[in-house]
């Protein structure tokens, strides 16, 4: 689960991570008020779930409260386009007003999962403000890494290695050690899957703060953090995905024209691949789960058919433990309740696949049956050619 910068900073602050003083404004008038309260130079930052905001005009430095009001007026309501939003951009609804800082250095700090070692790893670099992937591919020697042994946690010597490795001195080191420990604690206790402070800044008076903060939570651990549910911003999500999540469906909208409904995530990805190989583009990822019950199929149809780009639907179910004839009956039951006006191809493989094909062919539905994976993909692409 992704959250906004202002939410991330509020959480980090609770754990003792230093962040600039700031306020969230939903109107330009509020922005002006908060800027005046902070005094002097402030930064106006558009709050959307995407990086690269500065280049798109979503981060501006205001010399005074009037300027802050003017920037907020520009930003609130605008469609901010960055390299992470796609060409349509994302609508800005809120801005963060933060105190301006006298910055000496911009660094990078992150905690991520090293999947190969099965360990968390602290990553730090002197190249603040640059995407870490870019640093990793161009100058990997500039990335410091400290793997964490979870049985003991982040050790002081590791924090020192990072701080001195970044070239910090005197007071800066003290602040950095406190920062690293607080960030680690926040990560562990909030079940983060990623935390990125880019840039981590050192101010002229020796302080170390998170100028930006991006954290994501592990969806699997959300049962331990019921209070995080309110951090979700549905405006940042695709409306159809929000709708699908109400039905408990695992759905991701894409830009193609062939809707697909599949049981199992791997087979769903493979089905999308097949649609592409057969010459079209998938409209979505949708995993209806192993059982593919009549109810999930019905909800799946509702979501797929709400996507105006969808010109055809491919259902690909591998019935293993669950028998295909039962799945077929569910599909027929679900479909007969609905007004389906696009071609549908159904492929059921596994136990009682033949009976299932017969049931579908003898039903009142105009569904086509694909006898195998290849045939199903070819039929669905032919149906819209």
């Amino acid at each position: 689960m992704k959250i906004h910068e202002y939410q991330a900073k509020a959480i980090l602050k609770n754990f003792g991570v230093e962040v600039p003083r700031g306020y969230l404004a939903e109107t330009a008038i509020e922005a002006k008020k908060f800027a005046a309260e902070l005094g002097g130079t402030v930064v106006v930052k558009a709050q959307i779930h995407a990086g690269g905001r500065g280049k798109g005009g979503g981060v501006k430095i205001a010399k005074n409260a009037d300027e802050a009001e003017a920037f907020a007026t520009e930003m609130i309501g605008m469609n901010l386009v960055t390299h992470q939003t796609g060409p349509k951009g994302k609508k800005v609804r809120k801005v963060l007003i933060e105190e301006g800082l006298d910055i000496l250095r911009e660094l990078y700090l992150g905690i991520v999962l090293d999947r190969t070692n099965g360990q968390l790893v602290f990553m730090a670099s002197t190249e603040g403000g640059v995407e870490i992937e870019k640093v990793a591919s161009e100058t990997p020697e500039k990335i410091l890494k400290e793997h964490i042994d979870l049985t003991v946690g982040l050790q002081p010597f590791q924090a020192r290695k990072l701080a001195f490795g970044l070239g910090l001195q005197g007071e800066q080191v003290k602040h950095a050690l406190k920062f690293f420990n607080a960030l680690y604690k926040a990560f562990m206790e909030s079940d983060c899957s990623m935390a990125e402070i880019n840039p981590l800044v050192v101010t002229k008076d020796g302080n170390v703060l998170a100028l930006d903060a991006k954290i994501t939570f592990d969806d699997n651990a959300m049962y331990r953090h019921k209070d995080f549910a309110e951090l979700r911003d549905v405006y940042e999500e695709e409306p159809l995905e929000v709708e699908a999540s109400k039905y408990g469906l695992n759905y991701i909208k894409l830009d193609g024209v062939v809707g697909c409904m599949v049981n199992g995530a791997g087979l769903a990805m493979a089905t999308m691949d097949m649609i592409k190989i057969a010459g079209s583009e998938p409209a979505n990822f949708l995993d209806v789960g192993g059982g593919a019950s009549a109810e999930t199929v019905e909800n799946g149809f509702k979501i797929l058919l709400s996507d105006k780009n969808v010109k055809a639907v491919l259902i690909n179910i591998f019935g293993g433990i669950v028998r295909c004839d039962r799945v077929a009956k569910g599909v027929i039951k679900a479909a007969s309740k609905m007004d389906i006006n696009v071609p549908v191809v159904v492929r059921l493989e596994g136990t009682n696949a033949e009976e299932a094909a017969k049931l579908l062919e003898e039903s009142d539905l105009s569904f086509e049956v694909g006898r195998n994976f290849q045939e199903a993909a070819e039929k669905i692409v032919a149906a819209i050619a």
């Binding site: 999947r115 049985t151 199992g264």
Partner: protein
């Protein structure tokens, strides 16, 4: 021969009285798996279906029955604990079916297993099967047939698809391993390939990968340097957008790392026979064997 599980496997099921656990225990017994014990804390002393003794702890189950493998069907909040309990009791093979275990729980499990002689398969996987001998997991047994091709996969139903394609062509399997779709798993492609390498009855291996992480790339390096047996691979998710979790917690392209195209190319360069479509996994193996 086969690897990991066979006629000598003595299975204890953790969560045997739950709805998933009981359903799949019956399926496993029906397939011929030697299910000799179950564990559900608080239900010790009962008998599952009047035949399988249920114990309160793994230790007790191992002591009383000599179990050497476990299958885990407990809900996500308790699954990491169940894995560690098995490892602590000296179980050699732990197969964790549970989907949705918090990642930080698995980081702890990973550290816990480091110095123990326990192999973990999964979590978030369909399990392991040596056709005709033993099945630990939730896969449909009937699609398999005994033979000489090993299979390793991060997926569930896509694995069944591949197995069905193999069996339909008369290509049997030695052992099929669902290694799981999570970011942290007990047994990786490379780990499984190493075991298949030493199995004299496995002549070739199918690998089904997907987007996210670098496990396929690491496997490619291993195959290139160490494996003489033919390997057929398919990597799912070439149409997956970056930054989105495609069902499996581990199936996510981060930055530009972990795309299907990149993985496929690296595997191809390592001499792996790449199936051009997911419908041609069986046919590609048939060609590789001829």
């Amino acid at each position: 021969m086969s690897i990991l599980v066979d006629e000598n496997t003595r299975l204890v099921v953790q969560g045997i009285t739950g709805s998933e656990g009981s359903f799949h225990t019956r399926q496993m017994i029906e397939y011929g798996t030697n299910v000799i014990a179950g564990v559900t804390p608080g239900k010790g002393g009962q008998k599952f279906d009047d035949k399988v003794p249920v114990f309160n702890t793994l230790d007790e189950a191992v002591r009383e029955t000599g179990a050497n493998a476990s299958a885990i069907f407990v809900p996500p909040p308790f699954a990491a604990d169940a894995i560690m309990e098995s490892a602590n009791a000296g179980i050699a093979l732990v197969v964790c079916i549970t989907e949705g275990i918090p990642t930080l729980d698995m980081v702890k499990v990973h550290a816990y297993l480091k110095d123990r002689n326990t192999r973990l398969i999964g979590p978030n996987c369909p399990g392991v099967i040596s056709p005709g001998k033993c099945k630990i997991g939730i896969m449909p047994g009937f699609i398999h047939q005994p033979g000489k091709v090993g299979l390793i996969s991060r997926s569930g139903t896509l694995t069944y698809e591949a197995v069905k394609q193999l069996s339909d062509l008369g290509i049997g399997q030695s052992t099929c391993i669902g290694i799981g779709g999570d970011p942290i798993i007990g047994t990786t492609f490379t780990d499984a390939l190493k075991i298949f390498k030493d199995d004299t009855d496995t002549e070739a291996v199918v690998m089904i990968g997907e987007i996210g992480g670098t496990a396929e790339q690491e496997a490619a390096a291993y195959i290139n340097e160490n494996l003489d047996k033919p390997v057929v691979a398919y990597v799912a998710g070439r149409t997956a957008p970056p930054g989105r979790r495609m069902g499996h917690a581990g199936a996510i392209i981060s930055g530009s790392e972990g795309t299907a195209t990149e993985k496929t190319e690296i595997l191809r360069n390592a001499g792996v026979h790449v199936a051009e479509t997911p419908a041609e996994i069986g046919a590609t193996m048939q060609k590789a064997l001829s």
